[in-house]
């Protein structure tokens, strides 16, 4: 039987966000959640600067070593490309002792979101990730019928104050942004389904019924095995390519990626 937060992917998808479900997420959790009262924002403080969500496995399995902690460490992971990774549907070890709005049982009452970032200020937050962060929080708060003030940063919740520094952005600004989204003052920007003009090539992505001929073109341009199948290896190569070209490294070939692909042989 699965835990209760099975509504997470639907709510996030409806908000126009990219969502990836980790295998077995619906059955993952420390225990059943209590009443969901809000969202707690974290950053992962990863040491790995490459890749979209290098911390994902740690969040799922927990960490070992001096300060070992069994996973899952958060319900949601937020990749650098703004993709939400659905990790668990039950209670997670993310909050620690603290208080926000009179709520103390952080793991029981807050959904934890771990956003991938080095967190020492040396890695700027990509706009696509920040936008997805605010939109995801707004969608969850709307779903549980709470205002933006029920979104707290881990640094604001955790006692003693100052024990944690995540997330390393201004939470008041963030809450204002969440409130704007909840009030409908900011519509989501989605990737077009296909190119608006010219060749009208469809947008390609892993896990979708892609046009095999188009996938072959991409694979050939990126120097991969040309089999017409958009799988994880192709996706990873596309991300790498996008990263090199300063695009959002989400592994999705939309109009912008097509335009850049056209410039290479």
């Amino acid at each position: 039987m699965s835990f209760s937060l099975t509504w997470l992917p639907t709510v996030l998808l409806d908000a126009g966000l990219k969502v990836a479900e980790c295998p077995g997420w619906a059955n993952l959790g420390r225990a059943e959640m209590g009443t969901v009262e809000g969202v707690l924002c974290h950053h992962t403080a990863t040491t790995i600067r490459s890749g979209n969500m290098p911390s994902l496995n740690t969040i799922i399995h927990g960490r070992s070593g001096r300060d070992a902690l069994p996973g899952p460490l958060a319900q949601l992971g937020l990749g650098r490309d703004g993709t939400y990774y659905i990790i668990a549907a039950g209670k997670c070890n993310h909050a620690g002792p603290g208080i926000w709005k009179g709520i103390t049982g952080g793991n029981t009452h807050f959904i934890g979101i771990e956003a991938e970032n080095v967190g020492d200020g040396s890695e700027p937050w990509p706009e696509v990730q920040m936008d997805a962060y605010a939109r995801g929080v707004a969608a969850i708060l709307k779903h549980i019928n709470r205002g933006a003030e029920f979104c707290a940063g881990h640094k604001e919740y955790r006692l003693p104050i100052g024990f944690k520094n995540d997330p390393n952005f201004d939470m008041n600004d963030f809450r204002r942004r969440v409130q704007d989204i909840m009030d409908g003052r900011s519509a989501p920007v989605v990737i077009p389904k296909e190119e608006p003009a010219g060749l009208i090539r469809q947008t390609l992505r892993r896990g979708k019924a892609n046009d095999a001929e188009l996938v072959k073109i991409v694979q050939q341009k990126l120097g991969l095995t040309v089999d017409g199948f958009f799988g994880p290896i192709t996706e990873a190569a596309v991300r790498e390519f996008q990263r090199g070209k300063g695009l959002v490294a989400d592994g999705i070939i939309g109009p912008k990626s097509w335009a850049i692909l056209d410039t290479i042989a």
Binding site: A31, P54, T58, I59, E114, E235
Partner: protein, 373 residues
């Protein structure tokens, strides 16, 4: 739904009121031990009973009588202020000096009969004359020496109804005394309630015990509520609960880990968004404290009884926590450790160490959404 949650919140609040009550009662007893207000009330009551408003006649004789004066230190000196027309009740915090807080009704009756027979003067001699032995006839003969017609009437009334039986007359006088004592207990109880109210109000403000904050906190924190109910379950089984002293009640109150006190005032307030409102900053806390103070005047036994009743009701309304203790699915070899007691202390958190298990892009699950349909 009037579910177990509502019941649990009620139990939490009742437990809180009980402990505050106990605390205030302990403070009240401390004050009483110092001031002996009850003795002052008793003295006033006896003066009224004996129709001696200034405490110079019958009341003085009675307090000086060996049967009574043995009950307290030193000599009797009236606490009365003013004369018969300007006489006032003792203040809420009147001091009773060394006077007794209680006088046994038998001592009173015997002393009074003795005074009626042998006279008001404690220094008198020839006490053993045949005309001075306490009999119905001798009392009737000597009673006019008291010079206090109201008392004479009361004593004669007791004698008449006894129909010649001296012991029955004594019982009649005791009953007369006891009815007056009930009245004094009434005064004292009312004054105690006032004093407890002011103590409770001070305690509520000093310790910031705001009922609204606590209710709000309990309604939002499942674990805190469950811990509190468990605690209530333990306490109600403890028969020494009603004999807690100040220190015990104080530490029990702190053990509840409720949002009381001033140290975390800011984070306990619920509506940060409109934290500047007059309700949040003034009327809310004032009313919350006032309710706490009024509840404390009900007294600890009242809340203890109520707590027991609620615990019984709760045990019949089966709480739905069973499913939480036995998760039907255990995703990891180390299952959740007793989720009910999973309180703030042992809530683990992440982000304290860098995450180091690398997840390369190729291992990431496929995403969907974010593309126009």
């Amino acid at each position: 739904m009037f579910g177990s949650n509502t019941l649990e919140i009620a139990i939490g609040i009742i437990l809180l009121f009980f402990l505050v009550s106990t605390l205030c009662t302990a403070v009240r007893e401390g004050i009483e031990a110092k001031l002996k207000t009850r003795a002052a009330y008793l003295e006033q009551g006896i003066r009224e009973l004996l129709n001696d408003f200034t405490g110079t006649g019958m009341a003085k004789s009675l307090y000086d009588h060996p049967l009574i004066s043995g009950l307290f230190n030193g000599a009797y000196k009236t606490l009365a202020k003013g004369n018969e027309t300007t006489l006032k009740r003792p203040d809420l915090l009147a001091g009773g000096k060394d006077l007794p807080s209680y006088i046994p009704s038998k001592n009173f009756a015997r002393a009074l009969m003795d005074i009626a027979t042998r006279g008001k003067d404690m220094g008198a001699v020839n006490l053993n004359e045949p005309s001075n032995t306490i009999t119905i006839d001798n009392i009737r003969k000597n009673i006019s020496n008291l010079g206090n017609p109201q008392i004479e009437r009361a004593i004669l009334n007791a004698l008449d109804l006894a129909q010649g039986d001296l012991l029955a007359a004594e019982t009649n006088i005791e009953n007369w005394f006891n009815s007056s004592m009930d009245r004094i207990s009434g005064w004292y109880k009312r004054s105690t309630q006032w004093i407890v109210f002011w103590i409770a109000l001070s305690v509520a403000v000093i310790m910031n015990i705001n009922v609204f904050t606590v209710v709000d906190y309990l309604s939002k924190n499942d674990t805190a509520r469950k811990i509190l109910v468990q605690r209530a379950g333990v306490l109600t089984k403890d028969s020494t609960m009603l004999k807690m002293d100040y220190m015990q009640a104080d530490s029990a109150l702190k053990d509840l880990k409720l949002p009381i006190g001033w140290s975390n005032y800011g984070s306990f307030r619920i509506n940060h968004a409109d934290g500047s409102g007059i309700w949040n900053n003034l009327f809310g806390p004032l009313l919350g404290w006032l309710i706490t103070a009024l509840a404390a005047t009900m007294g600890a036994p009242y809340w203890f009884d109520l707590l027991n009743k609620f615990m019984v009701i709760r045990s019949t309304v089966k709480p739905k926590e069973k499913s939480e203790e036995e998760p039907s699915y255990t995703p990891r070899p180390n299952p959740p450790t007793n989720s009910v007691m999973d309180n703030a202390e042992n809530e683990p958190d992440c982000c304290s160490e860098p995450f180091n298990e690398d997840t390369p892009d190729q291992e990431l699950p496929a995403s969907k959404g974010g593309v126009a349909l």
